[in-house]
Symmetry: C2
Subunit: 334 residues, 2 copies
């Protein structure tokens, strides 16, 4: 069943059918109704390929994330996908993994499908060396590019991110205000957002007169047990009394460590997580966590993209402030 069949059955030319399909105004109300009726009757669906071939668009946005099994990214996908559909855009998803070759391949795949724009979800699409980001620049030369939680300078690249520097800074400051003197920063690896979080942490330490050395900047990306063990080893040589983690899972690792070491939380060890995920209310004690307002981040991205594609001018960088959600791993009046 194609446009020609419809035109036959409704006794008009295919051009008129096409016009009805595209809500063109040069169609009389009478014929429009007639054609629409035939379409309804025949359960006609226009061929998306033929359409895309002419219009060079298929109302599709390419979504890239490293791994949707990361709950944070899974949530982002859901928010974005629903938001886009609200504007009648569909989304083509790629879980690239963490390999930079795959990131590039997926980008090319999406571009070869003529997506109308690309949204890179997560800071780990930004590599530290700028030449490795060539694929992002290349993509941006073809379609608008949005980076969620990462900032990259470049034409046609737009960033929507959480003010992680400020959020970490503020959390670390509270440590000092509450009397903790030996806070540590625990991150997974130095990703773009990891670095920003660290910057805020360091700034607060500096201001409080405790400039952080390497002993205060810990890393572990392994499973929970490994995080736990690493902290235990570290605690032997350089004890700490507060910990800011770059995600809730790491923070839970710290909680596990505290329990094994017999430390009382938050008295002996205050812990602040990041993302305010489901984990933060499932662990024991419940975790104080920085909420970077993912849903708002996503809806902002969608709005920005729509404006962008409508030809409006939009800011290159949109920063959103986070929110600290207090629970039981920080003192009463934190």
């Amino acid at each position: 069943m194609n446009i020609y069949d419809i035109s036959q059955k409704s006794g008009v030319s295919i051009a008129t059918v096409s016009r009805v399909l595209n809500n063109s105004k040069n169609v009389s109300e009478k014929t429009r109704r007639k054609v629409l009726a035939v379409m309804e009757e025949e359960d006609y669906q226009p061929n998306a390929f033929a359409r895309g071939l002419m219009l060079n668009t298929m109302q599709t946005i390419g979504l890239l994330c490293s791994d949707s099994s990361d709950p944070y990214l899974g949530r982002a996908i859901s928010f974005l996908e629903q938001g886009l559909r609200g504007h009648s855009y569909d989304s083509l998803l790629c879980c690239t993994g963490y390999d930079s070759i795959q990131k590039e391949k997926c980008t090319d795949m999406l571009l070869s499908r003529h997506v109308d724009a690309l949204i890179f979800i997560g800071s780990n699409f930004i590599e530290r060396t700028d030449d490795k980001n060539a694929y992002l620049y290349r993509a941006a030369s073809q379609v608008p590019v949005i980076i969620l939680n990462g900032y990259l300078k470049g034409t046609n690249i737009y960033s929507v991110l959480c003010d992680d520097v400020e959020a970490s800074y503020s959390a670390a400051r509270r440590f000092f205000k509450s009397g903790f003197r030996h806070p540590v920063f625990l991150s997974r690896s130095s990703s773009f957002s990891g670095v920003r979080k660290q910057t805020g942490f360091e700034k607060a330490c500096q201001e409080a007169g405790f400039p952080p050395g390497p002993d205060q900047l810990l890393q572990s990306s392994g499973p929970l047990k490994e995080v736990c063990d690493m902290l235990a080893r570290h605690y032997q040589t350089a004890p700490f009394d507060a910990l800011l983690a770059t995600d809730d899972e790491l923070a839970v690792g710290a909680l596990k460590f505290a329990q094994k070491a017999g430390l009382s939380v938050p008295k002996d060890l205050a812990v602040v997580g990041y993302n305010n995920s489901l984990l933060s209310i499932c662990c024991e004690p419940e975790l104080t966590s920085i909420d970077n307002r993912l849903e708002y981040l996503c809806s902002t991205s969608v709005t920005l993209l729509m404006n962008l594609m409508a030809g409006k001018k939009v800011p290159e960088k949109t920063e959103i402030s986070a929110e600290l959600v207090l629970r039981s791993t920080t003192p009463e009046h934190f």
Copy 2:
């Protein structure tokens, strides 16, 4: 840059270029290399639309899930997406939400894009009344349909699911073997897989001589706190000593309840969760959980789909056995 340009630059006809593009065998090695070289040089990407128009396929599988922010579904998406890409299929994702109209709309959208097959992720795509499943039958009349974690009889519908009946049965039996006499079953709502899990649970109770009444079959779909409160209320009137939950989050709710009620886990209350998710090792004590081997479920689905599309005969229903992962919420020798 199109196929015509390439044919010009390499001094052959567009048919030959197309043959190279499609790995047709009737091309001499010499010309193939020449054409490939030109393509490389010009950074040529074939137009996916034109291709789809002719071939009526775009090497794309439609993926539907109710919500990728559910970690379980997020993981499934990731596994499937990667698996499919391994066979050079891309995936078009729809997070439908839980509304049945949206499920249908998304299905139609994917079909109008001529996806080569559909994978419905999760049992909640199967409604209890069969007429509400019409959209699934309709989809199956156009492309192969795979349902993950759900079974629906119908031509061109293939199911890949975990043997939840057996898994729940086995877990509940262990309760009795370990001396628990008042187990309860906690589920979110009576979804397809929820019902199966319940069936297994009931069977074990029956066999042990404790046929379960409504007091043993609890439901709560709200947030953690609500689950916790519901259990507390229930415990007043009908105390229980073991609990099987249909997912880890619910199980964590039970743990929270136990803690508040001063019950010792697993002595006073044994708890078994489902999905063996990250939660199960983050909570305290760590959760014994049924692992339904999602990764295997997904890879099986992908293989099945590839065989199916290659014209091979595949079973209508593939059942995979689950695995109980023992941790600290069940007795030593469970």
